[in-house]
């Protein structure tokens, strides 16, 4: 493989690069969020069946998508870390987990607030909701297991195995509405057919999803920078950083 890709696998090289990317992704997230909220709250029409409560969709669907996507990316970095023994991969996985847990919590919370007025219940043990709750436990389990092992290299490997086993839950969440008869509705957006929603609603949702994506990248990069400094605290390059010297 190309040598230049491996250069960025070193925490020392990646640390300043991540620092440069954070403002870019944060700005993108803020702008997309503003546009998405404007479309979602002011342009998108009232739903003919649900009235205004459907506007929860602009938070719920992006958060739910990100909760699954972040897990897949986290598991990918765990697999890379286990296969190639690259420290930075494990650090990326560890940096993604709290944001993934946040997205999962938001998806569950908003789902509950949407379920009460539309289905008449805050919660049901149906396949979609139960598997999403398991996703939250997987994120928490990953972080707890990592925190419980003192040696960071061993903690990385143990938590990575847990993350990889948990990947099986992702297709279960995604296809649960097809495989089982769930209270939760089927997908409104799919690759194979036209979306079953108004165009402005769809655009609002997609832009909010993009905003959530940019935010997640920015938050993970911010966290990975702290993780790098914590792990490399004895390294000379850390001591040479202006932000450390200036303290």
């Amino acid at each position: 493989m190309n040598q230049r890709i491996f250069r960025f696998a070193s925490p020392q090289t990646f640390y300043p690069l991540a620092g440069q990317m954070i403002p870019l992704f944060m700005t993108l997230a803020a702008v997309l969020c503003a546009v998405g909220l404007y479309i979602g709250l002011f342009v998108a029409p009232t739903d003919f069946q649900q009235g205004e409560v459907y506007r929860i969709i602009f938070i719920h669907v992006p958060a739910a998508w990100m909760s699954m996507f972040i897990y897949v990316v986290m598991a990918f970095w765990c697999a890379v870390g286990l296969a190639m023994n690259t420290r930075l991969s494990f650090m990326m996985a560890l940096a993604l987990a709290p944001t993934g847990a946040l997205m999962t919590a938001v998806a569950l919370w908003t789902g509950s607030l949407w379920g009460k007025p539309t289905w008449g219940t805050w919660w049901a043990w149906d396949a979609r909701m139960t598997s999403e709750l398991i996703l939250l436990f997987l994120y928490i389990g990953f972080l707890s297991l990592h925190a419980a092992i003192d040696d960071p290299r061993r903690a990385d490997r143990a938590a990575a195995v847990l993350a990889l086993v948990g990947v099986v839950n992702i297709p279960i969440i995604y296809f649960s509405v097809k495989w089982w008869n769930t209270l939760h509705q089927g997908a409104s957006v799919s690759i194979t057919r036209a979306p079953s929603m108004a165009r402005t609603m769809l655009w609002g949702m997609l832009i909010m999803a993009l905003a959530a994506w940019m935010y997640s990248i920015a938050a993970a990069l911010m966290r990975v920078r702290s993780i790098i400094l914590e792990r490399e605290n004895a390294a000379e390059w850390v001591a040479q950083l202006p932000e450390v010297k200036g303290q």
Partner: protein
Amino acid sequence: MTWGSAAEFLAMGGRAFFVWGSYAVAAALIAAELLLLRGRRRTLLARLGRSLRHKHDDS
């Protein structure tokens, strides 16, 4: 524009609690995450700076 007035917007067709409850909690969690990230970095940099000064004192 779908709203006649600000009050109508805030009322969300009588579903204000559910709609704004979703938006508010999502915003609060994101704000909390950003504050925690900033706090973690600040504490860490202060600690690294302190240990660096100690090292200089020793030598």
